[in-house]
């Protein structure tokens, strides 16, 4: 019940395209859903996060869509750029509890 399932494992997108990464969870106690971006040799860094009281959150080119009834959330990267090439992790945590991470998606944006 603690798992967070993430797909796809890898994604190749042309510059200017839309990148979409999906995650699903089971634990209804989760109430914080962040996306982390990780470049090679670096630690994960928070990109954007959402709580279940809203269905969408947008920050610049990055949008989280959240479907509470389906227990799914997704990251959309609009106008994808080569500099967005990185590994993306979704995560989920209950209030005050540990974050459980998805398996990660390696995004490659081709120029």
């Amino acid at each position: 019940q603690q798992q967070v399932k993430q797909s796809p494992q890898s994604l190749i997108v042309q510059k200017g395209g839309i990148s979409i990464i999906n995650c699903a969870y089971e634990n209804t106690a989760f109430d914080y859903f962040p996306w982390y971006q990780q470049f090679p040799g670096k630690g994960p860094a928070l990109l954007i996060a959402i709580r279940p009281d809203v269905s969408e959150k947008k920050e610049g080119r990055f949008t989280i869509s959240f479907n509470k009834s389906a227990k799914q959330f997704s990251l959309h990267i609009m106008d994808s750029q080569p500099g967005d090439s990185a590994t993306y992790f979704c995560a989920a945590s209950p209030r005050g509890g540990k974050s459980t991470f998805g398996d990660g998606t390696t995004l490659t944006v081709k120029p």
Binding site: Y32, Y36, G43, P44, R95, K98, S99
Partner: protein
């Protein structure tokens, strides 16, 4: 900008040896974590620490690991009797005590290579 710092950045050790990884969390943060990431794999939770005690730990934690906060700034992970499969990146993370955010701030990691 405050950051989580970790040392060493890379450590090579022989199988069976003990290793200590060090972390300095962000100064006003109250929750501290260790995660590890085997090359190319997911970020795996090891332990969380709050108010000078472990608040959660993974199933594998007690087998080989221990944590300490020996002073007001450092947070250490000790790995006893290292095995080849312990080779990984170990990340320290911290967060504030505010309930309205769960954002984790990660250090750059300590790469452990067990030979």
């Amino acid at each position: 900008e405050p950051e989580v710092t970790q040392t060493p950045s890379h450590q090579v050790t022989q199988m069976g040896q003990e290793v200590i990884l060090r972390c300095v969390p962000i100064s006003n943060h109250l929750y501290f974590y260790w995660y590890r990431q085997i090359l190319g794999q997911k970020v795996e939770f090891l332990v969380s620490f709050y108010n000078n005690e472990i608040s959660e730990k993974s199933e594998i934690f007690d087998d080989q690991f221990s944590v300490e906060r020996p002073d007001g700034s450092n947070f250490t992970l000790k790995i006893r009797s290292t095995k080849l499969e312990d080779s990984a990146m170990y990340f320290c993370a911290s967060r504030t005590g505010h309930q309205n955010t769960g954002e984790l701030f990660f250090g750059e990691g300590s790469r452990l290579t067990v030979l």
